[in-house]
């Protein structure tokens, strides 16, 4: 038996040895793959199934001065469907209701039956990427995810959702063109174009791994985080922009013009507060199509006469009081006849008057006299250069054009004998409206030229990354004497000259009209004009400068004074109302002697409101009651505030004599529905005070 056991053991150990040997071979093989050749296999694994995907950064917002959103990126979704992935069972059980849901809630291109056919036939074709709808917002996308079949998940249902971002402009047309856009198919435009790099941010990278046919992120976070674009805080004042756009729109419409532009600029800083551009679409509708303000070169016409005058003054060859012969409003320069815009038979007058009435002959004659001789022409040119009229403003909106001022020493630009007279009245030169405005703004700013700017800062998550401060381009474009004279000329235009009709009772402003003929060189073309007005307000302490150009007005007048001037006035007046700081303080004036009948009396309203008004107006009052609502009673030279009992609990209150705002506040807080007729103060109410309040509808008569 011992023998037997030994024999068995020897044989068993042999087998054990064999097993251990096999195990060693296997371990060695694994070791070779894992360690010896490990590097090579790991590299192969990475190459085969990993790739980097770009992760889009969120584009920055464009904000108005007060933080209102002018442009922002909203996510939207593209809904597609993999029709192959679902099983026959799932598909057949759900296709009816899915077709119904799509046709009803998502896309009515097809009827329910149409969608049913579409889904079935595309499934038969093996379509894995059927477009259901392109533009779906977040809310609808969430709903679509719950549709039958889709609610089974990506792999069983086949719903494919792709996220994109869409640029939205909450204010629509407002400053549309200035905000601009960046599109794949078109040249970038506006602020979006100019600041594309900063707005776009930087793309991130994410390591994606292939799992069957789709790539999924390896980690939840991107390897390289996308850096979101900066927000752009502009200098645009939403209210002013609205006013400007509205006024320009009315004028373009009223005068049946081809378009127009209006810019409002802050005199001291050069900040653009409003910039409106109108044109017409193919079917004649008015629309923000092109940024004329910076992208259209126009012959300025009479507004350029200021540059001529300043040049002459700077060269000290004239004084405003000197007299000049206007030749009856007609004059020949070589073979070309120049005429004044209005018929007059005036001969001798002052240079000041010649400018204020915008006499072409007067200004051209002066220019020809002093700059006509061949060797003097370059003197004029260098004066214009001194005033920076030959270079762009450098505003940070994509697409500003270079001005064209003829250089007498450059043979290539058709310098002729009549260039000086015509140039002096704003022809044969080309400037953008913004460049003209910038020149006038410098005059308003006592000769200091600022760089117009529309972007105040770049921000990231609300904190400022880069700030753009007002920048002085030139300390003085002319001597103080010349600037003073220019300012008085522009004030004169409004007081006595071509803009006299535009005078406002509320404040003084200064400016210059312009009416430039378009296509004057072409024969047999009906003459059209660009009507413009450029100036600043208030005249004595300029706060804003503004240019209005109406392009080719056809009806109801053509002249700058009657077409563009009123737009300027409307903008200025509304701006004046909006801006408290433009108003002279009341308490700077001597206190008004108060009379009983001048004091507000028998007014009903909130005590706090009254007190803050009286305090502001410095009116004496006695504040007797400690109640929310009061009744004012004028007595001798002061006002008493008396208690006004409005209501008991659960009763209809007495709102007679109140303003609508207060009345609505009280009544709606009681749970009543209010219908209002007329305007003014509440004179009658349909339910008597003291009735039980139980959500009735009450009518208020205002008068």
């Amino acid at each position: 038996m011992i023998n037997v056991k030994n024999e068995v053991l020897i044989r068993v150990y042999t087998v054990l040895l064999g097993v251990v040997f096999l195990a060693a071979v296997i371990f060695f093989a694994a070791f070779k793959i894992n360690v010896t050749d490990g590097e090579q296999w790991r590299k192969k694994g990475d190459e085969l199934y990993m790739k980097y995907r770009d992760v889009e950064a969120q584009r920055g917002n464009i904000l108005a001065e007060d933080g209102s959103l002018l442009a922002t990126s909203l996510p939207f979704f593209e809904i597609r469907m993999d029709l192959v992935t679902s099983t026959d069972e799932d598909f057949e059980a759900n296709v009816d209701s899915l077709a119904y849901c799509i046709a009803t809630y998502v896309d009515d291109r097809f009827t329910v039956g149409g969608w049913w056919n579409e889904l079935n036939s595309k499934r038969a074709d093996g379509q894995r990427y059927l477009l259901i709808r392109k533009n779906v917002d977040f809310e609808l996308m969430q709903r679509i995810k719950k549709f039958p079949l889709f609610n089974l998940g990506r792999h069983r249902g086949g719903l494919i959702v792709e996220q994109h971002a869409e640029r939205k402009r909450p204010y629509g047309l407002l400053a549309h063109r200035t905000i601009g856009y960046v599109r794949e198919t078109a040249k970038p435009v506006g602020l979006e174009g100019y600041f594309d790099k900063q707005l776009a941010g930087t793309q991130g990278k994410q390591l994606m791994q292939r799992v069957k046919n789709i790539y999924i992120p390896v980690n939840d976070l991107s390897e390289i985080q996308p850096k979101n674009g900066s927000d752009l805080q502009t200098t645009i004042d939403i209210n002013l922009q609205d006013v400007t756009q509205d006024a320009l729109f009315k004028a373009v419409n009223h005068h049946n013009a081809a378009g127009g532009t209006a810019i409002v600029m802050e005199v001291k800083t050069g900040a653009i507060r409003a910039i409106a551009n109108l044109g017409r679409t193919e079917d004649g509708k008015i629309w923000e199509r092109y940024n004329h303000a910076i992208g259209s070169l126009i012959e300025p016409g009479s507004t350029f006469k200021l540059a001529t005058m300043m040049s002459l003054l700077e060269d000290q060859v004239i004084e405003l009081g000197d007299s000049i012969d206007l030749e009856g409003g007609k004059m020949m320069f070589y073979k070309e006849e120049m005429k004044d815009a209005f018929y007059h038979n005036m001969r001798s007058t002052s240079i000041r008057n010649a400018f204020e009435m915008s006499s072409n002959v007067g200004i051209a004659k002066l220019a020809q006299t002093f700059y006509g001789p061949k060797n003097r022409a370059k003197r004029f040119y260098s004066r214009l250069q001194d005033m920076n009229l030959d270079i762009p403003t450098g505003i940070e909106i994509q697409g500003e054009l270079h001005p064209r001022i003829k250089n007498p020493e450059n043979k290539n630009n058709n310098w002729s004998g009549v260039t000086i007279p015509w140039m002096s009245i704003g022809y044969e030169v080309l400037l953008t409206p913004l460049q003209i405005l910038n020149f006038y703004n410098s005059v308003a700013n006592d000769g200091q030229m600022m760089k117009p700017y529309v972007v105040a800062s770049l921000q990231s998550n609300g904190s400022i990354v880069q700030e753009f401060k007002p920048k002085v381009v030139k300390k003085a474009i002319a001597s103080p004497h010349t600037i003073k004279a220019a300012q008085s000329l522009l004030e004169g235009v409004v007081e006595r000259g071509t803009a006299k009709a535009l005078q406002s009772e509320r404040f003084r402003f200064a400016g210059k009209t312009g009416t430039a003929q378009v296509d004057y060189a072409k024969e047999n073309v009906q003459t059209t004009y660009n009507a413009s007005f450029v100036g600043y307000f208030p005249a004595e302490a300029p706060k804003y400068s503004c240019i209005v150009v109406v392009i080719e007005p056809k009806d109801n007048g053509i002249y700058g004074g009657e077409v563009a001037g009123p737009v300027f006035k409307e903008i200025a007046e509304k701006c004046y109302s909006l801006k408290m700081e433009l108003h002279p303080s009341l308490n700077e004036a001597p206190p008004i002697a108060l009379e009983n009948y001048e004091l507000p009396t028998k007014e009903v309203g909130a005590r706090e409101d009254f007190i803050s008004i009286y305090n502001h107006l410095d009116l004496p009052y006695y504040n007797n009651p400690d109640t929310e609502w009061t009744y004012s009673q004028a007595m001798n030279d002061s006002i008493s505030l008396l208690t006004r009992v409005i209501t008991e609990k659960n009763e209809i209150p007495n709102v007679k004599g109140m303003g609508l705002r207060d009345a609505l506040y009280i009544l709606e807080n009681k749970g009543l529905d209010v219908i209002v007729i007329g305007n003014g103060k509440v004179s009658a109410q349909s339910i008597n005070p003291g009735t039980r309040a139980k959500g009735q509808t009450i009518k208020l008569k205002l008068s």
Partner: protein, 376 residues
């Protein structure tokens, strides 16, 4: 806890083997959960817990079967062996003729009225090993004799292996090898065993020729797999993926559930599970550790032989553990690209109902033997 303690202190038998079973069971649940992510999406709409729950329940039931088999005196298996063989042969014939075809191979039969499929070869395998152990121990007196000892053992071996071979050649070869080695260890004359080796080759050749006429014999698959293995330098797609997995694990692994290659490897939960184990647990813990567990199992059974009073018990334990360790080695050899793809599972780890349940039973029998050997 209290019950757990009670069970553990109450358990007898080889504690090392118990530990091996439990470690393998836990690894099985972890690895199967990790590697079934993709088929969970493909077949279960993303319900990844489905396979976790299924495997956990299977393994739990398996451990219960281990305990049941362990509780039973192993002498009973000896008595049952002839009947099991008698049942196994018609079952295999039935499977070949009417079985369910899954993945092109007819290895399963359905249970009437139940949504369960059952791999008959696993049952036959166990039956045969117990039968051989019984016969060898019963005929020890004249074990060298051809007619009275060799023939009665070899006859059922050939029948069963030939019946398994058409649909599952790998399992048949493995069982044949186990049988030969059992006979070798059981002191059967060496020259008969060499004869048997040649007989095996003749039978295999006959099978290939028969394959020309009977489509159920998967000759084509064998040829393709073998040719793939021999011709492609880096082993083709599957092997490339498997090697990447093994390399990615480096020495310490990517960590449980972090396998990347599970998404690319075909059947990462069975055929290539060893590669996934190395990828997640590293070459040392996963690669060497799991390999070591199987070798250790066989070693523990060898140790029983030195103690065993009765030859049947030792033979059963040796045979069963040898079959397990050989199958494990065969499975791992595929992952490390030493042999062509076989379709053999990693015992007690790979996903697959019958495989887990019969592995559990096998462990239970080993433990039963160890329990009585301890007593002796």
């Amino acid at each position: 806890m209290e019950i757990g303690n009670k069970i553990f202190t109450g358990l007898r038998g080889d504690k090392v083997v118990w530990a091996i079973v439990i470690i393998l069971a836990v690894v099985s649940i972890l690895v199967v959960y990790s590697s079934t992510g993709r088929i969970a999406y493909e077949q279960r709409g993303g319900n990844t817990e489905f396979y976790l729950i299924k495997q956990t329940m299977l393994v739990g039931f398996g451990l219960f079967l281990t305990w049941v088999c362990y509780s039973w005196n192993y002498i009973n298996y000896s008595k049952l062996a002839p009947i099991m063989v008698v049942i196994a042969i018609p079952l295999l014939v039935y499977t070949l003729a009417f079985g369910l075809e899954i993945n092109d191979a007819r290895r399963w039969i359905g249970m009437p009225g139940l949504p369960i499929t059952f791999q008959t070869s696993e049952f036959a395998k166990l039956a045969l090993i117990i039968f051989i152990a019984r016969t060898i121990s019963a005929k020890q007196e004249y074990i060298a004799d051809f007619k009275s000892a060799f023939l009665p053992i070899i006859f059922p071996v050939l029948v069963i292996c030939l019946l398994i071979a058409p649909a599952d050649l790998s399992s048949a070869l493995l069982l044949f090898a186990t049988s030969i080695l059992m006979m070798f260890m059981g002191r059967v004359n060496a020259k008969y065993i060499i004869l048997l080796f040649f007989l095996g080759i003749v039978a295999f050749a006959g099978l290939i020729i028969a394959g020309e006429f009977i489509p159920e014999i998967r000759v084509e698959t064998w040829i393709t797999r073998f040719r793939d293995f021999m011709t492609s330098a880096d082993g083709g797609y599957q092997v490339t993926q498997s090697k990447i997995a093994i390399a990615q694990g480096e020495l310490t692994g990517l960590g449980p559930g972090n396998s990347i290659q599970r998404n690319y490897l075909p059947a990462p939960y069975s055929d290539f599970v060893y590669a996934i184990i190395i990828e997640e647990y590293g070459l040392l813990l996963g690669g060497l550790g799991i390999l070591g567990l199987y070798v250790l199992l066989f070693f523990r059974c060898v140790r029983m032989v030195t103690k065993s009073a009765k030859t049947f018990g030792a033979m059963v334990a040796l045979g069963i553990s040898l079959n397990i360790v050989l199958q494990a080695l065969a499975n791992m050899a595929v992952s490390v690209n030493l042999v062509p793809v076989t379709g053999l599972t990693l015992p007690m780890i790979s996903m697959g109902g019958t495989s887990i349940l019969f592995s559990s039973i096998a462990f239970g029998i080993i433990l039963s033997v160890s329990r009585f050997i301890e007593k002796a």
